[in-house]
């Protein structure tokens, strides 16, 4: 059943991609109407990146509350996905900018704020790699997340919506655009959930292996060595 769901996900992604290119009419009101179709890939990436950020923040708060290392694993896994989807949002946004404004990067307020957001994520992962002790790393990362969290709504919502920007505001999409955009958002969200689950499972295995290797010698091995020794 789960396997069928995964095959259905591939179909959904393929159909929404094909629909984005072949079924959607050119977007009226844009300079390059044909390439403006990229919004149906750009917007879902930013929606899923925001969702992944929220999930990561929730698990960071949960770690500070429950002190369960699994929450730290879930938090960092979700932030890794969020970084990837924010990077995809930036790349698809740059393609859109090139087609609409003639240049891929124009230091627009939205582009600059997303760059700052990406730097905050990079700082988070740099911080994590600098601390060896897993408990200390989890606590410091969770506290960093709480502070970084204050910047996220400011950089993604407040600043871009209250500053002059090239980025289109209050765009009204036609029904076809809304269908493809939300179907693609569902597909990208399922990809995030699948990758997140696998990332957490792999980190959990690494945690269990780390715990096992930290035991100097398992008691059973000690007993076996003692039984085998002649004295």
């Amino acid at each position: 059943m789960i396997r069928l769901g995964k095959i259905a996900l591939l179909l959904l992604l393929s159909v929404t991609t094909a629909a984005g290119f072949l079924w959607l009419p050119p977007a009226a009101g844009f300079r390059n109407e044909a390439l403006a179709r990229i919004v149906v890939f750009h917007v879902p990436c930013s929606i899923v990146a925001s969702l992944a950020t929220a999930v990561g923040a929730w698990h960071a708060v949960r770690y500070l509350w429950k002190r369960d290392l699994l929450d730290d694993i879930k938090s960092s896994a979700s932030f890794a996905q969020a970084l990837m989807f924010w990077a995809l949002t930036t790349v698809t946004g740059a393609v859109f900018a090139k087609s609409q404004w003639g240049t891929a990067w124009s230091w627009d307020v939205k582009q600059t704020s997303i760059l700052m957001l990406l730097l905050i994520y990079c700082a988070y992962f740099a911080l994590r790699t600098a601390i060896d002790d897993s408990r200390k790393r989890a606590a410091v990362s969770a506290v960093f997340t709480l502070f970084a969290l204050l910047a996220v709504p400011y950089l993604t919502l407040i600043l871009p919506n209250n500053s002059p920007s090239l980025h289109p505001k209050n765009t009204v999409f036609s029904t076809e655009y809304r269908i493809v955009l939300w179907a693609d958002a569902v597909g990208v969200c399922l990809v995030y959930l699948w990758a997140f689950r696998l990332h957490v499972a792999l980190d959990e295995i690494a945690l269990r292996l780390g715990r096992r290797s930290r035991r100097a010698l398992p008691p059973a091995t000690v007993q076996r060595v003692l039984r085998a020794s002649p004295d």
């Binding site: 591939l10 393929s14 076809e176 990809v191 990758a195 696998l198 792999l202």
Partner: protein, 60 residues
């Protein structure tokens, strides 16, 4: 509404949109294939680890 959009002539479609469409399509296919194969590997690792831990518990 026609399937291929209202004002796209077949020439534009074949020379520009179809090759462009293949890029995200192939990326999705690669991502999906990677996750699919990783799923099997993770399941096998989890089973191996559970078996090893079970064996160690029995020995203890």
């Amino acid at each position: 509404m026609p399937f291929f959009g209202p004002d796209l002539n077949p020439g534009t479609l074949m020379t520009q949109l179809l090759p462009l469409m293949l890029v995200p399509l192939l990326i999705w296919l690669a991502v999906w294939g990677y996750l699919w194969s990783l799923d099997f590997k993770v399941k096998r690792l989890q089973q191996d680890l559970a078996r090893t831990e079970g064996r160690e518990d029995d020995e203890e």
